[in-house]
Symmetry: C2
Subunit: 343 residues, 2 copies
């Protein structure tokens, strides 16, 4: 990367995804010369660490954003909407983890390994897709490129950290209470999550799909530039701390590719790791995917119920590739392809 003097910001730096963004920036040694970190007034004045240096948390209110080149946002849709103009006016590109602008026509929705090219038309606002959509598409896209796909049926097993740090705390505290025989009352999540699971609690629309499912369907079509792909999805929250797992049935337009071709396409795709050991009964598991960059894919098999379909099973860390890593990879792509506003 040739750009020097890059000034970046992380907005929502104390959240589950924001904290992961700081870790990913450090691990990948993202080349910034300046870093500013923003959080709510509750955290203002405290410090966070990145590349072994402390950074003091600021609030967005009244701040001057001039000089910033890229801001990684993970502070919810309302914050993104409220500060888009101020950041863009200051010449700063926003890479946003919220759903605020994902479906906007002028906003690229990007998984760099799949549609990094879409960044070329950006106008200062770039969206990171929904985490379940990212895990699905990382597993699906190498196969989709191999043979045209007609329809996908997905059931998810989603980790609790996808609902935020407080929900994750509720999982561990509530689990201990259940083990101790105490009566538990959910406060963050709508239902008991300890030793339980439930349909994703986002609002159900008129079609009967919840918000999470609708995002997976709509965002996948946008990322693939394919309105004709049919996607059915059921999103479920399970008592797992981290990494979303998905059971994916893929029906092709015509004859299905050989399993060898599928395995080799997945194995060759950056960001995907094939974990498919039938003899040892070892397949993708959330504890293996947690903290890892790769989306794990396995249980690669022909669907006995449809001669044109196959099944796969995937697990990916929704805080990393599903959010923070994807955001940083977008920033890297902008730098590498000279797509910064700054020249």
């Amino acid at each position: 990367m040739s750009v020097t003097n890059l000034n970046i910001a992380v907005v929502g730096a104390t959240g589950a995804v924001g904290a992961e963004m700081l870790r990913v920036l450090e691990e990948r040694n993202f080349p910034f010369s300046g870093l500013r970190v923003f959080a709510s007034s509750r955290s203002a004045g405290k410090t966070v660490t990145c590349k072994e240096k402390p950074y003091t948390l600021e609030t967005l209110e009244g701040a001057d954003f001039s000089g910033l080149d890229i801001a990684l946002f993970s502070a919810g849709s309302e914050t993104t909407k409220a500060y888009r103009k101020a950041f863009n006016d200051a010449g700063c590109i926003i890479i946003d983890n919220s759903s605020a602008y994902r479906m906007a026509g002028d906003v690229p929705l990007v998984i760099p390994e799949i549609n990094g090219e879409d960044l070329k038309g950006h106008s200062g606002m770039i969206a990171v897709p929904n985490c379940s959509a990212i895990v699905l598409l990382m597993a699906l896209y190498p196969i989709y490129k191999l043979t045209p796909v007609k329809r996908v049926v997905v059931s998810t097993y989603q980790a609790v950290s996808g609902a935020g740090a407080q929900a994750l705390r509720e999982l561990t505290e509530q689990t201990r209470d259940v083990l101790d025989g105490k009566v538990v009352t959910p406060t963050i999540l709508p239902h008991r999550i300890a030793f339980n699971l439930f349909s994703h609690n986002t609002t159900i629309n008129d079609e009967g799909y919840n918000g999470e499912e609708w995002k997976v369907i709509q965002e996948s079509k946008k990322i693939l530039h394919d309105d004709s792909i049919a996607i059915g999805v059921t999103c479920v929250r399970v008592p797992v701390e981290r990494a979303h797992t998905e059971s994916i049935n893929i029906e092709f337009m015509g004859e299905r590719p050989s399993l060898e071709a599928v395995r080799s396409a997945l194995g060759a795709f950056p960001g995907v790791k094939v974990v498919d050991d039938r003899a040892a009964n070892h397949f993708p598991m959330p504890i293996d995917a947690s903290g890892k960059d790769d989306v794990l894919v396995g249980r690669i098999r022909n669907d006995i119920s449809n001669p044109n379909a196959i099944d796969i099973f995937a697990s990916g860390d929704q805080l990393r590739k599903g959010a923070a890593l994807d955001a940083v990879q977008i920033a890297e792509y902008l730098v590498e392809h000279d797509l910064l506003t700054k020249k």
Copy 2:
């Protein structure tokens, strides 16, 4: 029920399913005059309780089975195979929870609400289907009767107690260890189950399906008397204590029925309870299904990816309707329809 002096046995009375059988016999006030309970030599001499009376555990070795009318077996395939002849020769019908004879041509494989009629041809050995197949079919059959079904795609969320009482203990102890920051080593289940999930650990066959998936496929066809129904299934173990949950996509031969017709068919079917409150985001959950006789069904919606398909989400207690209750219901059917060997 007109039969009096019915002598029954529970074989495997100390296991998770055996203990549930005793509870179900008591709760339903099954009309036995004699009860014998069998377990391994480890438990022989100890007592179990049913209908407030203690029963002393016997071993099968060397026992005299004469006078027994019905034996509910849940002691594994090998025990069933070893003792089939001795029980049958003594004039005792076996209702077996193992997979030993499920696919045998002369053995009825029965969910009484669905194919109780098949009991009429029995020859002393009757099989209780696999628990995941029972939960699937209880949710599917009312819809299947309404409109012919072409293909079903299922992903399961299976409770740990399905792997036995020791596995359930491993879940709770291991979960506590993980919460306490201890290193855990799985001993009963093949992988860590605390805050994790994994593809069902039965052996993978040449088709790439594991043993559990294969049972669901083959047994469902036998129970429905329908070799042409296409069933694709992915079986997954999740950190839930009790009740199997399933995400089920149903594709019809022709036009899908209206959701109203589906809801009313499900609501009218004995053993099924519709839990489908979109406004409150309340759908089937394993903690709601645990300890209950009904299989809960909800998330009833049109599949946006296929105009001839719908989705449903079901949860049922695999120790009750998935095993012990089904066995006792079969016994009740035999009594009610005068299908006992005893006249």
